[in-house]
Symmetry: C2
């Protein structure tokens, strides 16, 4: 059987018992020209919360009674005369939160399972890594010696943002919650400074760590931290709007950045980015990221939980912050 997480009810605030239903349905048969993929891992990302809301966004909302949308990685276990994909190939794509998916392979890409661990293909070499790469380089336009502040600095996107900025010769300050994450950013990732938003006044800490101001702020969180960062922008600073995890569960009461006029005073730019816009450049980025991984310049950390039954509890770790690096759910049941 194919265990699936079915989207049943749009949540107000955090998802709860009524948001999804776990169903067991027959494993689909691939139609002519299709393949059947057995999922190994599912990617859990903050953006998934946004896709659950009604209304216009950068992507259609998930429909009620559909399989919950998510990135996945798995192995082809059957093909029905697919011209290029073979049994045993590993693919990553929008498989959804389920154990099996039948597809014609469009929008899936092949990965090499012997090169890096599979979960890394949905993390550092997947959407979060690509978001970091294009966000900090193309939108943030970092230059050597820039002071770069990144929130969610120990997370799937932020940890890569900070490391790329280090590779490019920037002074990097990471913000995260808790001593463990701060120690990780400082000692493992090599950031120049860290801020623990759970134990420090964020405004004071930004003044301490960025005494001459911020050239690039990469925002994954929104809210108070965005406002504090705006208050310390340097001339011609760039604010990369990548996410707003502090705001996703209270859509009716989104809090705008009261310090937005700092953009005016400092001739600064705040720009949103969506990683899908860079799809055509993923391969080029993957080659460069692969090189950094191979030479130890870039570190990748995945936090892997087990069992599709645990989807909701694992997903909620994105919002409690109780996770280390890229959050991944293993849905393959080993025999």
């Amino acid at each position: 059987m194919n265990k699936q997480i079915i989207f049943k009810k749009r949540p107000e605030g955090l998802p709860d018992d009524h948001t999804w239903e776990l169903q067991s349905n027959p494993i689909p048969e691939p139609a002519e020209g299709e393949v059947l993929i057995q999922h190994h891992y599912i990617s859990l990302d903050p953006a998934m919360r946004g896709w659950m809301n009604e209304g216009k966004s950068y992507i259609e909302p998930i429909a009620i009674d559909d399989v919950m949308r998510a990135g996945a990685i798995g192995k082809v276990i059957k093909t029905n005369n697919h011209p290029t994909i073979k049994e045993g190939d590993f693919l990553t794509g929008w498989g959804g939160v389920q154990q099996y998916a039948a597809t014609d392979g469009s929008n899936w890409r092949k990965v090499a399972p012997d090169l890096v661990p599979l979960p890394m293909y949905i993390g550092t070499l997947g959407m979060p890594g690509m978001t970091a790469y294009f966000g900090i380089l193309e939108v943030g336009k970092i230059k050597e010696d820039d002071t770069v502040l990144v929130s969610g600095g120990a997370g799937a996107v932020g940890s890569i943002v900070g490391q790329i900025a280090k590779i490019k010769g920037c002074n990097v300050i990471g913000i995260a919650g808790g001593a463990d994450k701060c120690s990780y950013m400082l000692n493992e990732l090599g950031f120049d400074g860290v801020i623990d938003y759970k134990s420090e006044n964020i405004q004071d800490a930004i003044h301490r760590e960025c005494p001459d101001g911020i050239d690039v702020y990469f925002d994954n969180v929104g809210g108070e931290i965005l406002d504090a960062a705006l208050s310390k922008l340097r001339m011609h600073a760039r604010v990369v709007l990548c996410g707003a995890i502090s705001q996703y569960n209270d859509k009716e009461n989104i809090k705008g950045p009261d310090n937005y006029l700092s953009l005016l005073i400092n001739r600064a730019t705040m720009q949103g980015m969506i990683v899908m816009d860079y799809t055509n450049d993923f391969e080029k980025a993957a080659i460069e990221m692969g090189g950094w991984l191979a030479t130890g310049k870039l570190k990748s950390r995945e936090d892997i939980y087990d069992g599709i039954e645990n989807f909701r509890d694992t997903f909620l770790r994105l919002f409690s912050g109780d996770k280390k690096g890229k959050l991944v759910l293993k849905v393959l049941e080993e025999e």
Copy 2:
């Protein structure tokens, strides 16, 4: 005597009786190499409110007991061996709110009094016009067929923004307060649509006038109107932050744009601009603007009040909106 408006007390909220003092002091003597300018007109601009606040901004705050900072235009009535400026020359520069200024002429520029009326040199061909020109072209990056929304659309900056956008083939919607200003934008300036924020629900009106969304929003006001505009951005839209007149008199309670995540969803950019950054390009812009004025493509309207004694009451018209076009104070006392 030289009547001067002296800055005495930083206001909370709107300036009042205690903010300035009118003094009569001796007319200054130009030192060796200086000239004495008799001011004809003073420019009244929203930015002046910002200069009165303490603290870091894009320019030093006005010091207590200094002459109130303002742009001015006047005639040289005496020179003390200035190498290039002659008696009878007309100059515009930061003369301040007073009737006479002695200066070595640095940062002043000569104007031709017979070419256009003097007040136009501190309006359409001065800071407001330059702000409009560089803001909509360099920051807004308008292209033919863009839908351009401009707030303060009947004002010194907004009226020029909208007209330049029309010249460039855009679809232009102007926002202003009251039927008179709306009729001016529609019938005199040739805008394609208008919104009266005093009598309409701004959100509904933007949906009506920009059914397919906004490519460029030029913001002179902030607050609710900025928020409503953000909610209708098109993909890759540009928001030009030029001013925030709704926010200038309540510095402690600036209201950020709650819809800022529209920048993310639409990969849009919000960028601040300060006209002083473009000083080196003013001449080039003035030539192009002069051509548009000469051929009737660009219309300029000045609202001129008389008497330095009326400075405060006239200045407050900027915030009540009770003015038509560029606000100018005549300080020359005709004999």
